[in-house]
């Protein structure tokens, strides 16, 4: 199972990262905190202090078109906010 799906790069998370040393990822729905901790530690070579997880429900989206109403749903996902030990950091912009 691939635990970390992608990092969340938003203004909100940039701020959290700079102030509280927290970084967030979209993770597999089935992964637990321990697995997430291990995955982050291995992937970024940092030590994780704590992991907070939350499951976002998908929203139903509807759009009116010529041929009637289209109704759909966005995906539901699990988000993990990882607090790193002091001194460690993850640079999501290292490739630019």
């Amino acid at each position: 199972m691939k635990v970390i799906i992608k990092p969340i790069v938003t203004e909100k998370m940039t701020e959290l990262g700079e102030k509280l040393n927290r970084f967030a990822f979209v993770v597999d729905k089935g992964a637990n905190k321990l697995q997430i901790k291990d995955a982050v530690e291995e992937l970024y070579n940092v030590s994780v202090e704590s992991v907070n997880t939350m499951v976002y429900a998908g929203k139903s989206k509807s759009r009116y078109t010529k041929s009637g109403v289209i109704v759909g749903r966005t995906n539901s996902f699990k988000k993990a906010v990882v607090t790193l030990a002091e001194g460690d950091t993850i640079d999501f912009y290292s490739n630019i």
């Binding site: 203004e11 940039t14 990262g17 700079e18 640079d91 999501f92 912009y93 290292s94 630019i96």
Partner: protein, 452 residues
């Protein structure tokens, strides 16, 4: 942060400085934070650029900048704290390794400094200095008087041209004795008899009256082509090629007459009611001469004093360092290259020596320049300037205003303060040493300057 000094010899030393990460990290962070607020980058809203990105783009430059600032601050405070008396400024040493801002976070700096040489200078009555008093000769008196009367003289029309006359008239170019068609014919030209060189040509013009017609060759009369081109209103090339006679029709003959010694002149020259009789006028002229002479005497004294003290004090200078320093500080000045500095060095060292002596006197004897002194000096130099324009008597408040105006400019102010300082030092020297007054004639006095 680690700063230390190593003496190489009495005049040269090395200041070593190590800057570590803790020393500059805080300052760098502050600067970067400030950058972050202002930086504009595509993909981010203003002020929302992640710190990591800002650091990556500007971090090295900011570190270099801050380290530089830190080093100069520390060096400066070190010099102040240790009370080091330096010549010039600290220069990066030649043994300085290239600073690698990319890979290292600990930087070593090495600076060469030159220490001002110690000197012993004691002013006492045993040092004798001449103070020349120039005698006012008849000739000088007459010259000064003539200059006053001449300044207010005016041109008056006279009957016939004499040696000093100005002749006004119209030129017409001649060709084989007849008027040349389309030739050069300037009108209302003023000739000065005094500048005609050729005696024969001059004789032709001598005694000319209005409406006289005289034929002469300007090329012979005025050997200078510039004069001719100006007079005939032609170009210099044309003047050079010019030959043949010209016909000159005199319209007016004037002569410069010096002003008469009367109340009008006194008023014009010195202001209303200041001088009322010829005796007062003479006295006033004597006074003016004396004033001028006094300035020269003071100047001479300052030169003598300077020479004497320079001779008394022997100091060594770290020449190699000073050369490097001059070269480094004048890098933008293209005229000043290594060769010129080599040749200029002795003079520069002399100046430096005098400066050191001056500072020594100032420090040891507590000579101070106060605001009032600076203003006084500014007023004095303002007065000199006015005198150069021929304004001998300028009201005091006017001078005061002018002086204040001068002092508002920093550059001028520095100069004035410098001048006032110089004056005070000279005055102090005059007090401290034995001054021998010597009467001297003007010619001998001038010779004193020639021999140097």
């Amino acid at each position: 942060m680690n700063i230390s000094k190593e003496n190489i010899d009495a005049l040269n030393a090395v200041i070593k400085l190590t800057v570590e990460k803790e020393d500059y990290a805080g300052r760098v962070d502050n600067v970067l934070k400030d950058y972050r607020k202002r930086v504009n980058m595509p993909g981010f809203r203003a002020g929302k650029v992640p710190m990591g990105v800002v650091k990556k783009m500007y971090g090295k430059a900011v570190i270099a900048d801050e380290v530089n600032k830190l080093v100069s601050e520390k060096i400066h405070s070190y010099i102040v704290d240790e009370k080091l008396d330096l010549l010039g400024e600290p220069l990066p040493s030649e043994t300085q390794e290239l600073i690698d801002f990319d890979n290292s976070d600990k930087f070593d700096f090495v600076f060469d400094v030159a220490i001002a040489p110690e000197m012993e200078l004691s002013l006492s009555k045993r040092i004798k200095l001449p103070y020349y008093k120039v005698e006012v000769s008849e000739e000088m008196f007459k010259q000064q008087k003539d200059s006053v009367t001449g300044r207010f003289g005016k041109s008056e029309p006279v009957e016939a041209a004499t040696e000093k006359a100005l002749v006004k008239g119209n030129f017409t170019q001649l060709e084989g004795g007849d008027v040349k068609e389309g030739g050069i014919a300037p009108e209302d030209v003023v000739l000065s008899m005094a500048i005609i060189k050729d005696e024969d040509e001059k004789a032709k013009l001598m005694g000319a009256k209005a409406n006289d017609v005289i034929v002469f060759d300007p090329k012979k009369a005025f050997p200078n082509d510039t004069e001719i081109s100006h007079m005939l209103k032609i170009t210099k090339e044309e003047a050079e090629a010019l030959t043949g006679d010209f016909q000159f029709t005199v319209t007016e003959v004037t002569e410069f007459v010096e002003a008469e010694l009367n109340q009008d002149l006194f008023n014009q020259a010195f202001g209303e009611g200041v001088v009322n009789s010829e005796e007062e006028f003479n006295a006033r002229i004597n006074e003016d001469i004396a004033k001028n002479l006094e300035m020269e005497t003071e100047y001479r004294f300052s030169i003598d004093a300077k020479e004497k003290l320079m001779g008394k004090v022997k100091v060594d200078f770290p020449e190699a360092f000073l050369k490097r320093w001059l070269l480094a500080t004048n890098r933008d000045n293209e005229k000043l290259d290594a060769d010129t500095i080599d040749t200029e060095m002795p003079r520069f060292l002399e100046d430096l020596k005098w400066q050191l002596i001056r500072n020594n006197i100032i420090k040891n004897n507590d000579v101070k320049v106060e605001e009032a002194d600076v203003i006084e000096f500014a007023k004095k130099s303002a007065k000199m300037q006015f005198m150069q324009y021929g304004l001998a008597s300028v009201p005091d408040e006017h001078l005061e205003n002018y002086a204040q105006e001068m002092l508002k400019q920093d550059e001028q102010r520095r100069q004035m303060a410098e001048g006032a300082m110089q004056e005070k030092v000279i005055a102090f020297i005059k007090e401290a040493v034995k001054v021998e007054e010597k009467e001297i004639t003007r010619d001998d006095f001038n010779k004193l300057f020639d021999t140097k």
